[in-house]
Symmetry: D3
Subunit: 244 residues, 6 copies
């Protein structure tokens, strides 16, 4: 009944982003690591990023496609209320749930729920969390077309330092190693329009360096589970980060 | 430099308890699961349990030996200040660190740090946490006899429901399955002197049942890491508990 | 000016649920205890439960009526946005406030505000909390038909373990004793359509057993007040739960 | 087995203070209310207050005796490490546990555990909490002289605003009414040596006024239980504070 | 690039309130202090206060104008969903962001985000927080008319004691001194219709007295920043409040 | 009565460290900034750092002297229980309070109280916090030699990322600018014996870079006040950090 480790390894990764570059900047390294290991990955971007100071939606769509490709992921746009206009609507959660039933992922990546960040981020995080529940309820009318699906794990990513939740144990994913770092850096660089004014890329690499130093590796990216994690044995666990 | 998964699997499990029955009641099922899988386990009990309403220290030592044996673990007593008298002393942490250097475990189990429980529990939890640091510092005079040792992970167990930390993501270890449950129940029953007045065993089985229901398995035991967990890949992770 | 203990005892209990079985599963034992003691109880169910994997709305309405009757409560349906579709709308709070003014309860029971549960639960909890304020504001146009009403206490219930708030002192209501437990169990069993797939009933009885063990009684159910509790004297207080 | 409401009403109140005026300033109004209602009260003061800027220990002992008498309480001094010198020692908890076994109280009052206040306060709060456990353990050698005793409830008081715990539901005790307020004010005034430099009395009355405004009464004092509260029925509960 | 201290001193203060009297009651003293020091202040009131038990919207508008004038501030009404009907809508945040771009303030004052208060308060607080972000994003269509503007600091005020956030360091603004206190008191008194039933004014003065006692001054008002505060040097900092 | 801004600017800075390099690594940049601005600074190092994997106490004392000198600070050693052996003793707090009375600082810097770091750090942080209270109590026998002294502000520093408190608003001190950064880097490099094995310096520069990116400056260091901060006006405040 419960998925065997093997089926879990093969289950696709599904990542949701509020803007065209969120997934890549926040956790592109993790995606690269997983796709390199043979997992398929799919990105769902929920706005055209039209409220940004730079870059037209058309330009950003091209950049997003290019960036996802570098990471080995496919990408679709699912526009909800528009950039900087996202609201908590039940119908949004339904649309996200529908995608979950279609993609049938093992792990979902979504923005963290920390409130004090871009308003679209925690809202999308909550909508995805709710959608992951709806996807496994049998009686939802709009979702009947696709069979119910229960995911293995919902992991939250943080687009900035402040968006890292304070009351969850971080899972630090080791992304060290030339290929993964090179892919991540290239994926961020693909969002050329966003690199003009502020150095998001520098922020992310500095964060990954800091998390890497804590983890005793070169670079790492933190993810957060708001649900308890079920393990068959302690052997599954990695190490604790306590290098200083 | 960092331990390979293989070496980690083989590294012994080291569990610390403030009283002769704490380890078994709080997480005996996890120990059974690990020893069944081929890992060695060693228990360090830090008082004779002489303040309990029932059972002499002699009787309790015999029960503890028997119980550890059922779980496949070895056991030693390391008396510090005595039952219900434990104090935060640096020399205690040194003694615990010395044992860590001798046993050289991958994973350590220790009581949770939640304050509102038997006063010895959070104190021992803190002492073990400090000891795990001391064990890897090269310059500590009293520890020079044994080579410095860095553990993989310190996991906290909760002797009661209230002792479960509220700001850490629980790791629910699946202990379902006849053999492990039978061994755990037998290990608890081996503490015969403690079963006269209150039903600790019923408490633990009820807790494990509740955590099992959440995890979508029959029985499970929660453990807690106060350090971030370092993972090489998402494949290592299990499932999230969200069955209701 | 402040209600005498006597008037408070007689004031009705008003319970809100997002789905037809929420009140009964989460705190049916408390309701039974209060109605046995002579208090009237009224349930307001805010969706037909149509998103559940099993049971048609018609079937569930019949089950809910039967279950409420067993507990000695009356029941009404107040459909808002529909099951799994609830949104935070001011007009919903107005509708709930209107019912509060009509029923004029002393104590209100509503779902907890913990976010990580069925999305309808914390939303309804917030709406009820807001409604309890609106019910005592004199100037609200839509509510003018009924005199303003200030409740004594809003208590939150938790449908699952995870829904128990972590930063409020639990109030453990002792529901031990044959009649109350029998009524609660029968009320849960009355929701026959919901018992096919998952064992909600077993979850609730295991939770009540665990809370009972902590409280030093057979079974108990936790409730949570987000407001401070005003007492005339310490004599009103019960005991603290610290049995282990 | 569990104490009947009647026996609980008659059980004495036992209050612990780190300095000669702590109990009176923090919760003298509650003590007056209880003794007026026929309950006996006993104060244990754990230092001579010799580190204060004003007042000799001899003077302060006289003031404390006078103040306790006004509130209807008896008083004893139990000097531990001295004022501003209190340490967490197991032998202190043993001494406090011995007094608990002798007085056999229903309710204990002790300082809150909030760290950022006078260093003696949270330490005494922790020692009392531990002592309340030791008092009911049957096997503690030093306590054998007196029968084990389980209290009903440990309530923490806050000497200042900052000492009020943030993660517990406050219990606001209504102390309005001429006699109780007059007794409390007189009890604070009895600590004449402490009134010269800073207006502690004004602080306490301002706090009680503020808590009263919240509670919808004239004056109230907050107390905090770190254990869940066990209730036989909702009738025992008072009102929620939500006056604004 | 970063504003010089001088330009910051001159930047206007912009305060948002959900009801006609919220700003004045919660932090009128701070506004008076700033306008006395030569800063301009502007109030935006987001409902007519029509749900209050007393006072018509027309009456309240006159009172609000009068009160703002006493504090040296200008005032505008921006009606969103109406009193007790506020909802989290992206278009509201846009409207607030437009005002921010027009007024171009250094510091913004907005209600705290604590949930358990009048439902309009935390909603407006969140909308203002989001608006302060939108105001500096270059690409937002509706805001194109006015140049993007980045504020220096968003500070939250608390209308009641319970609305003070628990996980932020309070900034206690000293408002002692005859003129400021007299202006604040007069500004509160100007809301004559709201003084009939409950003593809000007494609540606020009691709170300010208590915060003053903590700060070692006569009266002070707490404000809260949810963002870290950037300082050029420690000389900018005041004192810590630790008078008892 | 309250110190004028002018006297506060001139008051010395007093920093406490558990080991010879803690102050410099955690907040050397802040010290450099303050001494460059004309403030005197004094370091108190509470162990010889003899438990470190590298560097003899003699060597480390020389390095510490050199490092303090680079930052413009004087330094003294006050050995308490020894490195990795610090205990919470009242007599330690007395010794620290005596130094506070002698140095008479405006601002004190001490390690953060976060538990999960080197065991000596939070213990020293607590001892310093207690000492700052003792220093202003008039009646403490051992301290009579020196006049009582009340500091302006106690600020906590974090030696690592994990040691940053989660429930206090960070104060980000801008340390950008060639001279300060050069002095800080040189001060860290002066601890040559500690640079062999782990890159503490890289950790600190990465942290300061990350905090700088958040603050919109090049480099910044976070400090934390556990007491509310008293301000005469909002003009004293800097900007909020919200650059992404």
């Amino acid at each position: 009944m419960k998925p065997t480790p093997n089926s879990r390894e093969l289950a696709p990764l599904l990542a949701f982003g509020a803007h065209p570059d969120d997934i890549e900047f926040a956790c592109g390294g993790v995606v690269a690591r997983e796709t390199r290991a043979g997992r398929t990955a799919h990105f769902v971007v929920c706005s055209g990023g039209e409220a940004a100071s730079h870059g037209s939606p058309e330009q950003r769509a091209i950049e997003a496609e290019k960036s996802a490709k570098i990471l080995g992921a496919t990408l679709e746009f699912l526009v909800l209320d528009g950039d900087a206009r996202l609201e908590m609507r039940a119908e949004h959660a339904m649309k996200l749930a529908r995608i979950i039933r279609v993609v049938r992922p093992g792990i979902i990546l979504a923005p963290s729920l920390v409130e004090n960040q871009h308003p679209d981020h925690p809202k999308l995080g909550r909508l995805v969390r709710d959608a992951a529940r709806l996807a496994r309820y049998g009686g939802v009318e709009e979702l009947r077309e696709h069979a119910a699906h229960a995911i293995d794990l919902l992991l939250h990513y943080a687009v900035t330092d402040e968006a890292e939740p304070k009351d969850m144990t971080p899972l630090l994913i080791d992304i060290s190693g030339g290929e993964v770092m090179a892919l991540w850096t290239a994926a961020m660089a693909a969002h050329a329009s966003q690199s003009a004014t502020r150095d998001y890329q520098q922020l992310q690499l500095t964060r990954a360096k800091l998390h890497g130093l804590k983890a005793g590796v070169e670079y790492s990216i933190p993810l957060f589970s708001s649900d308890p994690i079920v393990l068959d044995s302690l052997v599954q666990l990695g190490r604790g980060a306590r290098s200083f």
